[in-house]
Symmetry: C2
Subunit: 227 residues, 2 copies
DNA sequence: CGGCATCCATTTTGATACTG
DNA sequence: CAGTATCAAAATGGATGCCG
């Protein structure tokens, strides 16, 4: 599982030697929004068996991409978190996500699973720092029984799985809307208008939210003439 | 080979469904610097058998990421080129490369193969558009028997495998130097000084070259405290 | 629940031989 | 060369069962 290397002295190949195996990048994707426990990971990653999950976690820990630790004091249960090296994979994963938004999303198939966190990460991938100049705000998203918070700080964005401490605005909506957003059939702005999402908090903070993200238009993957 | 899907309605997962299999991203990496033939691909990708290469090419063609065509008129031999969708994977591949430069390069192992093109792509990944303001120039790199050209156009960079038509400057050097650059033990600037690389052409164009790239410093992948 | 071990059916892969 | 055919060796997935 890690003795199979491409044997190329190339930055891309070396990276794929470490994280190119099946499930690995998706596992890291899950940890991008905060530490998760074994069972949580298994829930998000249907089809990944316990054995393979344990092997992948061990491999990533040995390679210094994740750390096994325990959640904040009250809960003494083990959890996995990204190290600095692991966190630094975020730009690559968001780049893959942007590609997927453009070229591969279309309609959900009915055998596909879905997590609101994937859309939260998608929003992050579409975040436009220039649209967030001078904005400092914490948003809390409540999607059915899931919660995320988004902290915007002068062109930087942070997305974390879990409720916020002192949100400036709270957005309440459904997983169904998030599915529609992922399919490109809805936007946050429209959702506020047609009532599929509601918000409480500082009006100005709410007003700026929808403009922070530039969703790339979907395109079809048909052979294109070389320019 | 394509019936194995993650079955997630997620942009990242959908992308990996298409290009996440072994060898696929490296294959696309090879095509980022221009069309290549079956045999050329096989040469760069030691360990990838002909059967699997053929299968991958067929899959990528069917999915609209590459096109099978023939090289420019004189040679009537088949070659594979990226479509617009395939080319659009470049940001993701360069992001993976940047990660590898930072966290995974170190020294070459002696069982690793090496291609100068991988370093050319590494340079592209380190290109700093702001350092190239107002610069319009075509550089030709001659690395032993390989050639690449690099066109800089006001903050944009293009890297193509093959000789240039009318280069403003020609850089001549060895594969050995490129290996050292990949290992972070040499830079273009030093190479001009110590004579391991030589350049002919417009002095001002040559002078600006080394400053166009910001190579990220290498870091060790040891468990880091979460900030 | 967290996590590892084991067994087994199915895929993927790697390596090589072979054909136009 | 470009690509198919073939076969052995891994990797995967699913279903357990076990132990703290």
């Amino acid at each position: 599982m890690d003795q199979r290397s491409y044997n190329q002295f190339c930055a891309t190949a070396r990276t794929l030697d470490l994280v190119g195996e099946r499930w690995t990048l998706l596992l890291i994707r899950e940890l991008l929004t905060g530490p998760k426990r074994f069972g949580e990971l298994q829930n998000c990653l249907r089809g990944l068996g316990t054995g393979l999950l344990a092997a992948r976690l061990k491999h990533l820990e040995r390679e210094g991409l994740i750390e096994r630790g325990t959640l904040p004091p009250p809960a003494r249960t083990p959890a996995y978190a990204l190290t600095a090296a692991g966190r630094d994979l975020e730009p690559a994963i968001l780049a893959l996500a942007r590609w997927g938004m453009t070229w591969a999303m279309g309609q959900p198939r009915d055998d596909e699973s879905f997590e609101p966190g994937w859309v939260m990460l998608g929003l992050k991938a579409c975040f436009d720092p220039r649209a967030a100049q001078r904005l400092h705000a914490v948003y809390e998203f409540r999607i059915d029984d899931d919660a995320f918070y988004v902290r915007i700080d002068a062109g930087a964005i942070e997305v974390v799985h879990g409720p916020a401490q002192h949100p400036d605005a709270v957005i309440t909506t459904t997983e169904e809307l998030f599915r529609e957003i992922a399919a490109g059939r809805a936007t946050l702005g429209e959702a506020f208008t047609d009532g599929t999402a509601s918000a409480t908090g500082k009006p100005e903070t709410i007003r700026r939210l929808a403009g922070l993200f530039r969703v790339p238009p979907a395109r079809a993957r048909t052979a294109a003439p070389t320019p």
